[in-house]
């Protein structure tokens, strides 16, 4: 079997991390280097280490380079990395919890929920006192949490056993509904139409360091919460009853994991719009790389997820340069076929097993 081969090849866990790490670093460097103005790799390293450690002076470097790197490309790469990581780990957690390899913030409708929150904030120019710029992510997160609980309650009403297909179908129903609400709001605004549409399809361009500050705390909190629940996720991927038999406090852990997943999704959507399929594709590949054990699946998803989105962003802004494609187009082009393949594999397994 293909997976067996890959796993014997990678039976050393460090090797899996090493490969993922190399992929991430490479994509960061490529992401910074390539563009309308190409920046040499060495210069990038110099600029970054100068900024980080300060013992190399920036004087010998062309100020245009350092400005491109520090003000435009680096924040963009970091932001897309954080968004990719958030979506990937959230997807991995949703999949483990729901025992559903097709679950992902996008297919579950959580992303759409977060979008509604974000659009509402933008539309009404909302600002919650004291939190200021965090109003956007907080409202997105709130809407994600509400959406995921609605979706799951609804799915369990349809069918107690909550089959994979039922959950996905419910997610799609909610997505369409929430999408319609967003369209309605856009139609009512008129002026800001293009800005919101661009944002809806997902983009990490022209966001700057501001947005990194917005997503970072939520990314740290959400990921930490999920990592602490890796063992519980392992137990729950055998079914909630079995997890309880094994000693897991299912109700509490489930709530924690769903909340953490929603925090990550909400924050990611708030800064970059709805980017689909990252949470679906990345955990799937990480599982091929290192099996389904969540103690390693989650960190590996973070690393490969961020690398993946950086590359996707790079492609989206270079492929028909100077025009930029929305990043969601690239992820959907890769993600939808993977979704189809997983679905086919599942059906084949059910038939043979």
């Amino acid at each position: 079997m293909q997976r067996q081969f890959i796993q014997t090849f990678l039976n050393n866990r460090y090797l899996a991390y090493l490969l993922a790490g190399i992929f991430l670093i490479l994509s960061i460097l490529l992401g910074i280097s390539i563009g309308t103005v190409s920046v040499p790799m060495l210069t990038i390293l110099k600029i970054i280490s100068a900024k980080l450690f300060g013992f190399i002076s920036l004087d010998q470097i062309d100020p245009m380079y350092s400005s491109i790197v520090l003000d435009i490309r680096l924040p963009r790469v970091i932001l897309s990395g954080l968004v990719g990581a958030s979506l990937a780990i959230a997807g991995a957690a949703f999949q483990g919890l729901l025992r559903n390899p097709l679950a992902d913030p996008y297919t579950l409708g959580v992303s759409s929920g977060a979008s509604v929150g974000a659009v509402l904030t933008l539309f009404f120019q909302l600002s919650i006192p004291y939190v200021g710029s965090f109003t956007l992510p907080l409202l997105s997160i709130l809407f994600s949490i509400v959406t995921i609980f609605f979706v799951l309650t609804f799915a369990s009403k349809i069918e107690r056993s909550m089959r994979v297909e039922t959950i996905i179908l419910t997610g799609i129903i909610f997505s369409s509904f929430l999408g319609a609400i967003i369209s309605l709001m856009i139609a009512l605004t008129g002026d800001e139409l293009r800005q919101i549409i661009g944002w809806l399809l997902g983009s990490v361009s022209m966001r700057g360091w501001e947005y990194i500050k917005i997503i970072l705390p939520f990314f740290v909190i959400g990921s930490a919460l999920l990592m602490f629940n890796a063992k519980e996720l392992n137990a729950m991927s055998f079914g909630e009853e079995r997890a309880q038999h094994l000693g897991v406090n299912v109700q509490k852990r489930k709530l924690l994991i769903l909340t953490a997943g929603s925090i990550l999704t909400g924050a990611a959507v708030a800064v970059s719009g709805t980017i689909g399929f990252v949470g679906l594709v990345i955990p799937h590949f990480s599982r091929l790389l290192w099996g389904p054990d969540h103690r390693h699946l989650l960190p590996l998803s973070i690393i490969t997820g961020s690398g993946f989105l950086i590359i996707a962003d790079l492609i989206s802004r270079t492929i028909i340069s100077p025009t930029e494609l929305p990043i969601g187009v690239i992820t959907a082009l890769i993600g939808a076929p993977v979704f189809a393949i997983i679905l086919l594999q599942r059906k084949r397994m059910e038939r043979s097993g």
Binding site: P101, V164, F228, A235, F238, E241, R242, H245, L246, G291
Partner: protein, 488 residues
């Protein structure tokens, strides 16, 4: 160990279980039985803390179930349920290792050498070590079940709950699993509470059984008492018959298929007898319930052909059963459906006759020779030697016999045979006293098991009277015929 007091509960609105109370002691293998929908699984889910208790109390080691935290409870109770989801392909070892979850401490759940040792030991005991690196999705149903059993045992529980553990397992796995559980209860003091669908397996392995009916306890007792014919018939609304296990002191229940009752009435009589030079055969259209001492088909059983075969006086064979079986096959009889006997007597001297009494009848076939007649009271004077039987008595009863009636029929027939021998003054050649039979006599009682029920066959019961008369007359005639042949 575990006590359940007046517990009611079930899924949200209505109570599936009502007022259930019982206790389970440490080291017991406790079976839960009941028809579909009687609340077995609900009870098990309440014991494992999955379903809430609506009223009453479940306590484990004197502490209420609700007071245990999930982790504490998992150290005491492990559950092997029927289904578990296997969406992702964990390896066998990863799966078993999850059993240690409740035992691991700290935020990061560090895996220590004790955990590793226990996981390795359990995998070895259950026999899954060889495929520990395989993915569970690739395993067969039986192997998966074993992996999950290993996972449950890695929890080092004091109580193991099982929901129809033998479901989907083939015969050898069923036995293997239950033998294993039995061993753990006796040797490690593990308490096992299990739901059974198969009443016979439950009767075979359990120390005590709880029978549920419509959410209430029908009875909580030892298997022999719980598995009473009338009780199971009432609770399951089906026809069954209880009988003893052939090797172990355990009750077994047999299903009675419906066609059994609709069978047409059949009588065994002269028309079914076929005599050739080499054998006498009786073939019946339906199998008869038999008790016999034949060479083949001896003991209790169901048979439809009956063969009395002629062999030479000096017939010797090291394995006469196998020889007889191949003889039967060679002549188109199915050994598994046949009661076969041997005799050195000339088969033309057979005597068969039908005897009728009111609403039932019997049909008797006797071949008799008395050259090796023996006085049973002095049989120690004879050396042991297997020679072909010389008085072979077949009694076909057109009626329904109880097991007692079979045994009494044999007694009655034997007594009648002895009397016939005495009246004909057959002498034991070694001792010179009156003989009671020959050294290798065989008998067959076969009943159609339809028509009149005959519970007893003692000498003065209607059946006994008929048997005595028939056996006496037929044996006498047969011995006379054989004597005549010798004189001529």
């Amino acid at each position: 160990m575990l006590s359940v007091q007046q517990v009611s509960g079930g899924y949200s609105s209505e109570a599936v279980l009502r007022d259930v109370s019982f206790k389970v002691k440490q080291g017991e293998l406790f079976g839960i039985l009941g028809p579909n929908g009687s609340g077995k699984t609900t009870l098990l889910k309440m014991l494992s803390g999955i379903l809430p208790i609506q009223s009453g109390e479940i306590s484990i080691r004197g502490k209420r179930l609700q007071e245990y935290k999930p982790k504490q409870l998992a150290k005491i109770i492990a559950v092997l349920s029927q289904h578990s989801s296997q969406t992702f392909s964990y390896t066998v070892k990863e799966t078993v290792s999850l059993g240690r979850y409740a035992h691991q401490k700290g935020l990061f759940h560090t895996w220590n050498s004790e955990d590793e040792e226990i996981v390795q030991r359990v995998m070895k005991q259950i026999g899954v070590t060889t495929f520990q690196h395989k993915n569970i999705q690739e395993l067969s149903g039986g192997e998966k079940q074993r992996v999950f059993l290993a996972q449950a045992l890695a929890q080092e529980p004091e109580i193991l709950l099982l929901d129809e553990p033998t479901n989907h397992l083939d015969l050898s796995y069923q036995k293997e699993l239950l033998d294993f559980l039995k061993e753990w209860t006796t040797e490690n003091g593990l308490t096992v509470i299990s739901i059974f669908h198969d009443l016979n397996l439950a009767g075979l392995y359990c120390d005590r059984l709880l029978l549920l009916e419509k959410g209430m306890i029908q009875i909580d007792h030892i298997p022999n008492e719980v598995l009473r014919e009338e009780r199971i018939r009432d609770v399951y609304h089906t026809d069954i018959q209880k009988h003893a296990h052939p090797k172990v002191a355990a009750p077994q229940l047999a299903l009675l298929p419906r066609v059994y009752k609709e069978e047409e009435k059949m009588e065994v009589d002269e028309s079914l007898v076929h005599v050739t030079k080499k054998w006498i055969e009786v073939c019946t259209p339906i199998p008869l319930r038999t008790m016999s001492s034949g060479v083949i088909g001896s003991g209790m059983g169901w048979h439809r052909t009956f063969v009395n075969r002629h062999v030479d006086k000096d017939y010797r064979c090291s394995d006469h059963r196998a020889e007889m079986a191949s003889f039967l096959k060679a002549h188109g009889f199915e050994p598994a459906e046949t009661v076969g006997m041997m005799t050195a007597v000339m088969l033309e001297d057979v005597v068969f006759r039908r005897f009728v009494h009111e609403d039932f009848s019997i049909f008797v076939v006797v071949t008799a020779g008395v050259s090796n007649a023996i006085d049973a009271s002095k049989s120690e004077l004879h050396s042991f030697e297997v020679t072909p039987g010389t008085i072979n008595t077949w009694i076909f009863v057109n009626g329904e016999l109880s097991e007692e009636a079979f045994i009494q029929s044999i007694m009655t027939a034997t007594e009648a045979k002895v009397k016939a021998l005495n009246d004909l003054a057959v002498i034991d050649q070694v001792t010179g006293t009156l003989a009671t039979g020959t050294s290798t006599d065989s008998i067959l009682i076969a009943a159609t098991q339809s028509g009149r029920g005959l519970e007893f066959a003692g000498t003065i019961t209607p059946l006994g009277k008929l048997i005595s008369k028939a056996v006496y007359q037929c044996t006498t005639d047969a011995i006379r015929k054989s004597r005549m042949r010798k004189q001529t």
